[in-house]
């Protein structure tokens, strides 16, 4: 299970890095190269976003990537194929990320069965309050998959406990109000928020939304277990291409530049 894999890695280093790709963006071939490159650059976990036409929690960069992936012909079935091929070749835990209409239309039980078969560890569904989704949570658990749930900075501790009791794998702490990709001020005090999260659950904590550079990742060390970098790598990809994106990822993981680059 995801939690044990994270704990095992945390015995080797204090902070893990989770990155994010949108499957099929800019094309299936390029998102494949990006995902493989990220693994070689030393990322510890990866979110594979199944594109959706109404990605309400995403800011402009990931929103545009969702739309372009759909225009380029991404379907849910092709996303499952992509995940299966990737999981067969890389050693790190992979998580699906999408919006609830995708598993809902697919059928939550079948979604969980096919996700298990594809080899992912779980899924992040940001628009789903856990109390609205008993079937989904049960379907995921029945396949030994982790439904990753989210905390927001204004989630009261009592509600955190309720949420934590229904999720597994890790808890995704959204660093600030808003959508992905906007700047987060990491000089602000997140310790009260993350302290509440620690008290509410023993699950590993991931912190995401607005991490853009190495200093942001370093800020997370000692406060959470996993730093999540999403929009920024897509922004670098859009502006400077694959090689620059992987250099950026290596600057976060501290991995040596790949030979020949």
């Amino acid at each position: 299970m995801l939690e044990e894999q994270i704990r095992r890695k945390l015995r080797q280093k204090p902070l893990l890095l989770m990155t994010h790709i949108v499957i099929g963006y800019p094309s299936f071939r390029e998102s494949w190269a990006l995902a493989r490159g990220m693994v070689e650059a030393g990322v510890d976990l990866m979110e594979l976003q199944i594109p959706f036409s109404e990605p309400m929690a995403d800011g402009p960069v990931i929103l545009a990537a969702n739309q372009k992936a759909l225009e380029a012909g991404a379907t849910v079935s092709k996303c499952f194929d992509f995940a299966r091929e990737l999981a067969a070749q890389v050693p790190i835990p992979l998580l699906f990320m999408s919006y609830y209409n995708i598993p809902f239309k697919y059928g939550v039980r079948q979604f969980a069965v096919d996700a298990k078969r594809a080899g992912v560890c779980g899924a992040i569904v940001p628009d789903l309050p856990p109390e609205e989704a008993p079937e989904y949570l049960a379907a995921m658990r029945a396949q030994d998959l982790d439904p990753v749930l989210l905390f927001a900075p204004n989630t009261p501790e009592e509600r955190m406990r309720t949420i934590a009791a229904q999720g597994s794998g890790l808890l995704y702490c959204v660093a600030r109000k808003g959508v992905t990709g906007q700047k987060t001020d990491f000089s602000q005090d997140l310790s009260g928020y993350l302290g509440r999260a620690r008290r509410a659950s023993s699950l590993p904590l991931a912190l995401g939304f607005g991490l853009k550079e190495r200093s942001d990742v370093e800020f997370v060390r000692g406060k959470a277990d996993v730093a999540v970098v999403g929009s920024e790598s897509l922004r670098v990809l859009n502006e400077s291409g694959l090689r620059a994106t992987l250099d950026f990822i290596r600057s976060l993981t501290g991995a040596a530049p790949a030979s020949g680059l």
């Binding site: 959706f52 036409s53 109404e54 990605p55 309400m56 929690a57 800011g59 929103l63 545009a64 739309q67 759909l70 379907t75 849910v76 919006y99 609830y100 209409n101 995708i102 809902f104 239309k105 697919y106 628009d127 309050p129 927001a152 204004n154 989630t155 009261p156 509600r159 109000k177 808003g178 959508v179 906007q182």
Partner: protein, 389 residues
Amino acid sequence: MQTFEELISAFEDAKRDPTFWAEYLRLVSSYSGRPTPLTFANSLTKHFGGAQIYVKREDLNHTGSHKANNVLGQGLLVQRMGKRRVIAETGAGQHGVATATMAAKFGFECTIYMGEVDVQRQRSNVFWMQRLGATVVPVRDGSRTLKDAINEAFRDWVTNMDTTHYVLGTACGPHPFPEMVRYFQAIVGQEARVQILDQAGQLPRRVYACVGGGSNALGIFNAFLDDPTELVGAEAGGAGLETGRHAARLASSDASVGIAQGYKTYFLQNQDGQMRETHSVAAGLDYVGVSPILAQLKESGRVRFEAATDREVVDALALTARKEGLIPALESAHAFAQAFKEVGGLPATDAVIINQSGRGDKDIFTVADAFNDAEWKEFIRSKARGYDA
């Protein structure tokens, strides 16, 4: 979640407080001209030779549509919650203008999200929103229409929830919006029911309303739910249901149940759950989802849903203008078009109500194009030449 709980509790408190409804009634009468009349359409009735046609005149609200009813109610809630900024989505621009008007009156900061396609087709409403002090943000994502404006308004709201209230304009989205919008729009049906009993001496055989998100339809239907009156919702048939280019969620078999934009209803979506492009001559009906309350009323069989095509709607608008001197909005003209297909078959002793949810002068560019009006085109050309000179 915290923001929703704050809104739910403000709304529940207001409903329990009798002074709130009294304040609401004072506001809508002194500022928006309520009650709006119920007009007997004598010439249309003669023309079709069937049931007596009555028109509920929501076009006579301040800002020209029923949208004012909901916006003024939510404005009072914003005051109670002590927030200083409001945001809204708009399709045709009617809800945007109503929200900008309310914000100007109450002294709130205001931002309106509007799909770029709708900015193009409803430019005059953009102009007025800006004059009223609102910032209008054209939304360039997705299909660049109402659904994309709603997504963008939600993104703003989750970022600025401490200071900002989202004045959702229709009976869609997460709880408590569907119930809350119906609550404020219910005044339409409350008045209409009293008025038809007074004027026709009977309950209506049928009530017709257009359905985009569903706010005007729920507003007028609500008072008749327990009556023997048949309720008919007219959706956007666009280029025709058979073409697939339409926005008929409940009148066609093209929609299926989904969960998006914070609620569960029938959406026009593909097999994967990706939302489809919709089409309608009326921007305010051009939307992939529909009120979950209306979806329930469809499933229980209480409301019948039909679709009127763009062509039928433009014809209905032309006939209504010529026969009655009424210019319905293109959205409202869907209700007229559907009624016109049916009233001839009803006995003259029956009465029907058509909800004229808004006035049509905002649609002058679209309607002029639909009529291919040569003199209007020449006017626009000469006006443009004037700017270039």
